[in-house]
Subunit: 376 residues, 3 copies
C-alpha cells in the first residue's frame, strides 16, 4: 500500500517513487509479578524514508529506518527482472529482505498482527531479516521458489575486521488449490549459516508482547563460541473468501565449540476474518502478507475495512543449551484499514514466560498495543 | 516557505511534497574572561530531509534532522482535518511539534532571530519541543486553542525500560484587535509533566548566545530525583503594517523528591521592522512565526526583503534549587530574505552570565552569528 | 549519471531532483603473512539519499550518507551561479566537496577504480574531502580555478568546544591542447590548514586495497600536538579518443609542537581504455572524473560499455615523523557500464606494505573487489 506518487517517463521506461513508512505504537503491560514489566509508553516503532525506481528491467530500492536516534539501512539493492526457464524471475544484489517463511518474508507493516509470529522470531538467523548479498526469486502460476546467499547486514559491528557470517537460504511454496474463492498454501524453508569468528556469542531474547517493553521477553542463555547454525521452517495456510488461517513452525540448532548444540523451536497458529468482506492480505504469489485493498475508504466517505484476528504463539528455548526459557502468548487483534495506505491496529496479548535467567520463574501478564500506521 | 515542488493528483485528493531544510551558521564569541568561551566556528545547525502529503482529509509528515553525525526523527505524524463545533480542527497522532508559546510553536527556520527566546528556553519541559502522542488544534477567526498529551520523544534513552514521562499541554490565543493594518495578540499556555522514573535528574543549561558554543550557557544546578514539573507562559504581541512587537514570559517549577522545588523563569521583549515594507512573519492564525512573503525576490532581479529586529532576554534559575545562575542577552538582528525560501541572518549579541557552577561569577562578552538558510 | 527524475517548473525557473546513490562491494584478501588481513566480506560502501534543486541562479543540495548504522551529512550547500570577469563562476556556501586534485575532486562513484589514488589519500587534510565554509569555482574554455575556506566538517567531535580547524585551498588546471579528439591536462593545488586546539594528534592509515578490510593499511605513526599542515599536488593527464592517462603527485607536511615536522608523499600513475569506444569520464572542464555516457545500454538491448584500466600507487610516510611506513599497490580494473546510471566494477590489487607499527615488516598480498553501483 502506497500513498505517495509514482513518477514515470512517457514510455514507462523510467519510474521513480518515494518510499516512506510510519508506525506509531502505544503499549501497556499489567499483571506481571515483576514491577519492571508493568510499564507503558509510546514509541515510533518504524519511520522510513527512501526511494525506488526502475530503468527498464533494472530496478533499485534504497530505504533507511530512523528510530531511537539511529539510521539503519534497510532495502538497498539493485534488481533485474527476466524470464527464466519459462517463468518470471527477479535477481537482487545488495541488502534485501530474506525469504524466511510467511511472516519472515513480509514487511512488518503488512502483517495482520503488531509483531511477527513465534516461528519466525525463534527461527531467524544471527544476520536477521536483511542480508547483504544475492537473491533469486522465481514465480510460477501457483508456486514460487527462492535462493539467496548473504553476508553481514550493513552496520554489523564485526564488518571489516573479520570475515562475514554467511547465510545460505532457500524457500518454496506451492498452492495445491487455487480458485477464485481462495487458495491453500504449503511451504517450507531451510538455511545454513556459517558464523564469522567475530560472533562471540548468540544471545536471543525475543519480545513476547510487542517490541516496546525491553523487560518483557523470553530469554535463552547466551550460547558461547558458536560456529554455525541452521534452521528449518514449515508453513500451512489458506484463504477462503474473507477468511484466512496460517500455521508456521520453525526449529533452529546452534552449534557451539564449547557447550554443544542449542536447540529451539517456535510455533504459531493464527486465523482471521475481514468483517467488511475484503480479500485478506495473505498472498498466493509470494506466500506472504501484502496490503489489503479497502472497498470503502474512510477518505472517500466510507467506513474503511475491519479485520478480526487471533493467534497462538509458543516459544521454546529449553533444548540443549543452558538456561533456556519458554513462553506462550495468545493474541486478539482488531485492525481498521482506513484506506489503502493507513490503518489502526489493536492487539490484546495474554502471555506467559518461564525464564531461567534474568527475571526467572513462571510469570503471567497481559499487554495491549495500539498502532497507527501509514505507508507512502 | 518552500522551494520544492508539491505534486498533486488531478482531483487534488492526493498531494505529496519533499520537505527539506538547511541552516548553516558561523559563530564567534569574544570578550569573555574565560578563554574557553572565546571560540569561533562554522556549523550545519539544521539539515533535514523528509516528505509530507495528504489523502483527502488525512495527512502525514515524516522529517529527519541530520546534524553532528546523528539522525533524529522530527515531524513524524498522521493528521486529520475536520470541522468541529463549527470551527476548523486538526488532530495529530505521532511525533509532533508542541504548541509552547509564540517562539516555542514556531519552526526555528521561521524565527526572526537565530535562536528561540528566553521564555521558551527556560519554560520547555524535559520532553522538549517534540512529543510523541496526540494533539488537537482548533482555529477560529481571531483565536486558536490546542490540547495535547505526549510521552517521550523518539530516541529518548529511557524508552522501553521504564514508563514514559507524559506532558499535558494546553494553549490559547486571542486577537482582540484584527484589521487589515494589523492585529493584537494575547495568549497563554500551561503544561503539567509527570516524570518517568527513568529521569534521574534535570540538568538545564540553555545557550545564551547561539547554539554552536558549548562553553557559553546559563547554568542551573542539576535537580536530582525530579518527580514532576509544570510551567505557565504568557504572551503579548502585535503587528502594525511593517512593524511587530512580542513579549513572552514563562515560569517553571520542578519538584524534586530530595531537594524541594526548583523555580526558574525567563522573559523576552522583542520588536522588529520590515524595512522593505513586507508584512512581518508573526501570524494571527496560529500565534506563531511563519515565513515572510518577499515583494521583490533576488532571484527575480529585486533586492529581496530586509528586516531589522532587536530582543532583550532574561534567564533566571536562582529560585529554590541550589547553584542556579542567571543571565541576560541583548540581540540586534538584520535579516535579508532573498526570496520565499532562503535568507541570510546576522545577529549581534551582548550577553552576561552569572553562573554558580562551572565557569562561575559575572562574565560579560559579545557574540555574533551569520546564518544562511533554505527551506524546500 | 542520474536515473532519477528532474522536476521542473514550466518556465524552468524551479528545478528539483532526488539525489541517491548505492555502492555494494564484495572484497577478499589473500596471501598476507598476517591471517587477520586474509578476510573477506560484503559491504554497502555508500548509500545516499538527498535532494537538489535550483531557483533561478540559486541552487541547493542536501545529501546524507547512510553506512555502518550512521548518518553522515555530505553535500549540504547553497550555490549561486553568476558571470564573473567575463567567465562563469559558481559560489558555494555550506558543506561542499573540496577541489583537491583529480581524484580528490571526483565523486567516488565516478572514479575509474574502486578507491581514490595514493596522491589524494596521502595529501588530504585533517578535515578530509568535505568542508563547511565557502568556495568559488570559475570556469574558462580550457581552464578552471577554485578557492575555498572551510572549517570542520559537520559531525566533527571537536565542534562547539574549541575553535574550528580551517583549510585554505586553491587549485587550477589548464588544457594546453584541447581538440575534438582529446585534450591534455596540467594542474596543481595547494592548501594550508590551521589546526584547532581540539586536534590532539594526527593518525593517518589509508587503506591500500579497498575500504572494507580494516586490518590492511599503510600506517603512519601518530603525530602528536599538531599545529598546522600544508600540502601541494601536481596533476598531468590527458584523453585521446577512447584512451586516457593520469598522473598525480602530492606531498604533505605536518608540523608538530613536540616532534618536529612529519613529511609524507603519494604518487599515482594510471591509464585506461574504453574498449567499446566511448569517451572516457575524465573531464576537461573541471579536471575531474564524470560519468561515462554509454553508447549501447544494456537496458535498451545493448552490451553496455567496457573499460580496462590499470594503476600504480605509492604511499610514503617515512619522512620526519617516527614509525612511518610505506606501501605500493598495482591495480587492474575492468568496468562494465550497464547504462548511464549503473555499473559493475572488478579490481584486482597486488599490494605491499612495510609498516613500523601494528602488523610490522614487509608484507605482500593480493585483494580483489567486486562493486555494483547505481546513482539516481
Amino acid at each position: 500500500g502506497e500513498a505517495g506518487p509514482v513518477f514515470s517517463s512517457d514510455d514507462g521506461f523510467f519510474t521513480f517513487a518515494p518510499a516512506g513508512r510510519l508506525l506509531v505504537d502505544y503499549t501497556a503491560t499489567r499483571g506481571s509479578s515483576d514491577p519492571g514489566r508493568n510499564i507503558n509508553g509510546s514509541r515510533v516503532t518504524d519511520a522510513r524514508l527512501g526511494a525506488k525506481g526502475t530503468m527498464g528491467a533494472l530496478g533499485y530500492y534504497v530505504q533507511v529506518k530512523f528510530t531511537d536516534g539511529k539510521a539503519g539501512l534497510r532495502q538497498a539493492y539493485l534488481s533485474y527482472s527476466t524470464p527464466l526457464l519459462g517463468h518470471h524471475a527477479v535477481f537482487y544484489l545488495g541488502n534485501f529482505f530474506k525469504d524466511l517463511g510467511i511472516d519472515g518474508s513480509s514487511a512488518a507493516a503488512n502483517l495482520p498482527f503488531m509483531s511477527r509470529d513465534a516461528a519466525t522470531m525463534v527461527g531467524e538467523p544471527v544476520n536477521r531479516y536483511y542480508g547483504l548479498g544475492m537473491q533469486m526469486r522465481m514465480y510460477g502460476d501457483n508456486w514460487h521458489y527462492s535462493l539467496s546467499v548473504s553476508g553481514d547486514a550493513p552496520g554489523n559491528a564485526s564488518n571489516g575486521s573479520t570475515s562475514d557470517s554467511v547465510v545460505y537460504l532457500t524457500r518454496a511454496h506451492w498452492n495445491p488449490i487455487k480458485t477464485d474463492a481462495g487458495f491453500m498454501h504449503v511451504g517450507a524453508w531451510y538455511y545454513y549459516e556459517h558464523l564469522s569468528p567475530g560472533v562471540a556469542s548468540i544471545n536471543d531474547h525475543p519480545s513476547i508482547a510487542l517490541d516496546f517493553n525491553e523487560n518483557l521477553d523470553v530469554k535463552a542463555g547466551a550460547v558461547p563460541d558458536p560456529t554455525q547454525d541452521h534452521a528449518t521452517g514449515y508453513e500451512l495456510g489458506g484463504v477462503y473468501r474473507s477468511f484466512w488461517a496460517v500455521g508456521e513452525y520453525a526449529r533452529r540448532s546452534v552449534d557451539s565449540a564449547s557447550v554443544g548444540t542449542a536447540r529451539r523451536h517456535g510455533s504459531s497458529l493464527s486465523a482471521g476474518w475481514m468483517i467488511t468482506g475484503e480479500k485478506p492480505g495473505f498472498s498466493s504469489r509470494g506466500g506472504n502478507w501484502q496490503w489489503v485493498r479497502v472497498n470503502h475508504p474512510v477518505t472517500s466517505g466510507g467506513w474503511g475495512a475491519f479485520e478480526l484476528a487471533t493467534r497462538v504463539d509458543h516459544y521454546d528455548y529449553r533444548g540443549g543449551a543452558p538456561f533456556g526459557g519458554d513462553g506462550q502468548s495468545y493474541t486478539l487483534g482488531v485492525n481498521w484499514y482506513l484506506n489503502d495506505w493507513s490503518r489502526v491496529m489493536f492487539n490484546y496479548i495474554r502471555w506467559h514466560t518461564d525464564n531461567r535467567i534474568g527475571d526467572t520463574g513462571s510469570d503471567w501478564g497481559h499487554s495491549f498495543g495500539l498502532r497507527t500506521q501509514l505507508m507512502f
